[in-house]
């Protein structure tokens, strides 16, 4: 199998969430001495881009994205140890979490999955995250972005608090603040002065790339 066919097979198997097949094909790529970087960017990532498209077009939903993400990770586990890190461009760094008081993390996890698959460096703080933790982590890892999610109206004001605290510390401009979740809207985004609102995980990744000039 030539390289192009192999990459096509990898992305195809990924989209069909054939976990074992993706791992086998990734092994095959290693055997053929194909650089891990290429297998990732031209096979696995291309597959996840298709998944992302299918999700945005409402062909794929939560179960399909999770299954594809398992296939993506299975492939990544095989080639990652062989990855020459110097070949990577500086990734977009993102700190992400669900606001304190809320444990609904499906949306946040989808953003983590799709942005990770787009090559972002994602620091997932999990759910029910204390508000200062977003800022501390962003400072610590020199993140480009702070991403916050919530499904509950009771916790959405936490997003504003994080933005206010960034302002108090005079570091608001260091970060792009991205928000999302069930009750969140563009109106709310404008109201609290966040940089970006997205209404699903796939468009979140697309809009972030545009915002960061990586589209």
């Amino acid at each position: 199998m030539n390289k192009e066919t192999l990459f096509r097979e990898i992305s195809h198997a990924l989209v069909e969430f054939e976990v074992e097949k993706v791992a086998e094909l990734a092994e095959e790529a290693l055997k053929q001495n194909i650089p891990a970087y290429e297998t990732i960017t031209e096979g696995l990532v291309v597959g996840m881009q298709e998944v992302s498209r299918l999700y945005e077009e409402e062909e794929y939903f939560l179960p399909e994205v999770l299954m594809c993400s398992d296939a993506f990770n299975a492939g990544l586990d095989v080639v990652n140890p062989h990855l020459d890190r110097s070949s990577l461009e500086t990734p977009i760094k993102m700190v992400i979490g669900v606001i304190e008081g809320d444990t609904h993390d499906i949306g946040k996890n989808l953003v983590r999955i799709l942005s990770g698959a787009s090559g972002f460096e994602v620091y997932d703080l999990g759910r029910d995250v204390p508000l200062d933790r977003f800022i501390e982590k962003a400072e610590e890892v020199e993140s480009d972005m702070i991403c916050m999610s919530t499904l509950m109206t009771t916790t959405m004001d936490g997003m504003k608090t994080v933005i206010d605290r960034l302002k108090e510390r005079n570091i608001r401009d260091k970060y792009k603040v991205i928000i999302g979740g069930g009750p969140i809207s563009q109106t709310f985004c404008d109201k609290i002065g966040a940089d970006l609102y997205a209404n699903d995980a796939s468009s979140a990744v697309r809009k972030v790339k545009e915002l960061m000039g990586r589209a």
Binding site: P63, E64, L66, I106, T153, P183, S185, T187
Partner: protein
């Protein structure tokens, strides 16, 4: 805006609708539940665990607004709780299930089909008894509960459940079966109090599952609940949160009497439901109702009424989901003001 006094009681109004008689105003049923606890100075936790508090809070809410339905509801996990899941109760948030009880098939021995007195079910019965006595002559009362998909997903964890739909469908169906039987036991009790059971399916949402998956994991089980309610001569609404534009026809195919919508274009719903059920919705409780101002709430309510003008059997003005504690009461009042001043049907006294 001329706000007229009601002529009929909410109960008379709903009965008039069901029997094809004229109404004094359009029906308005905002989803006001746990937030009524604030009216009597009680916490969410007290409301969820004490039927007397629940009843007292709802009486206060009903007296304040005079809406057309009382919705008893505590949290999305109480059926799972009655089956064996453990919930975390905090003072001012609805209880939730943080750690799923089913992590493998072996854990199935930890759960059972809920019987009528399991978990916090009796809290509802106590509240129903009081409410029937105090306001039952004036207004219909309903009990909202998570349906089979949402309950099964709570037991298993939503993401694990989602993966199972491909990786272990058999486990999905075992959980769905047990959840359905638990819901049926609850429905029988609700109906015995003359209350209306309302199926909530936040997890069977079109935001999470494909229409195809809805057919497999949601439709047959929800239909079973609808059929049981009908056997018991009860009306049964179906509420699904989030996006529903691709499943609103399937929701109607279950036979549910009221299709209660969240983020769904009403024009699409109108076309798909096509007179087969009442449509209830869908003022956004996280946007207009939360932020106002009152004029904006009037505007979106009017817009919904205009879109649904002439829809039969009827459009019920409501919220797209539960109104949270933070939704100002004046904003809920604004919805009722619209109902009391707009969209009046011809009403002649004595008819």
């Amino acid at each position: 805006m001329l706000i007229r006094e009601d002529i009929l009681t909410p109960k008379e109004r709903v009965l008039a609708l069901l029997t094809g008689k004229p109404l004094d105003r359009i029906i308005c049923m905002p989803i006001v539940t746990t937030n009524t606890a604030q009216l009597i100075g009680k916490t969410v936790k007290e409301f969820q665990l004490d039927g007397k508090v629940m009843a007292e809070a709802h009486i206060a809410g009903f007296k304040k607004f005079g809406y057309d339905l009382i919705y008893l509801f505590t949290n999305c996990s109480y059926v799972a709780e009655a089956m064996g899941a453990e919930l975390d109760y905090s003072e001012n948030e609805p209880a939730g299930c943080d750690v799923p009880i089913i992590n493998s098939r072996e854990d199935l021995s930890k759960i059972k089909v809920a019987e009528k007195n399991d978990g916090q079910f009796p809290v509802y019965y106590e509240a129903l008894e009081i409410l029937n006595k105090e306001v039952g002559d004036q207004v219909f009362i309903s009990v909202c509960f998570s349906g089979p998909v949402s309950t099964a997903a709570t037991l298993r964890g939503v993401e694990a459940f989602a993966r199972d739909t491909y990786a272990d469908p058999e486990l999905c169906h075992i959980l769905l079966r047990m959840a359905t039987d638990s819901c049926k036991n609850l429905i029988r009790e609700i109906a015995s109090y003359g209350a209306m059971p309302i199926i909530l399916e936040p997890i069977a949402s079109g935001s999470l599952f494909s229409p195809k998956m809805f057919d497999k994991i949601a439709f047959p089980y929800i239909k079973e609940l609808v059929d049981l309610a009908h056997e018991l001569k009860a009306l049964i609404p179906l509420h699904i949160c989030g996006k529903t534009h691709k499943i609103v026809d399937k929701m109607t195919d279950t036979g549910a009497d009221v299709i209660s919508l969240d983020k769904c274009d009403l024009a699409i719903a109108r076309e798909k439901v096509a007179g087969r059920a009442l449509i209830l919705g869908n003022i956004d409780p996280a946007n207009e109702l939360l932020f106002g101002p009152v004029e904006e709430i009037h505007r979106v309510c009017m817009e919904a009424l205009d879109t649904m003008k002439g829809y039969t059997p009827a459009f019920v003005l409501s919220t797209g989901c539960e109104t949270a504690n933070k939704v100002p009461f004046e904003h809920i009042q604004a919805m009722l003001d619209v109902a009391r001043s707009h969209g009046l049907y011809e009403y002649k006294e004595g008819e």
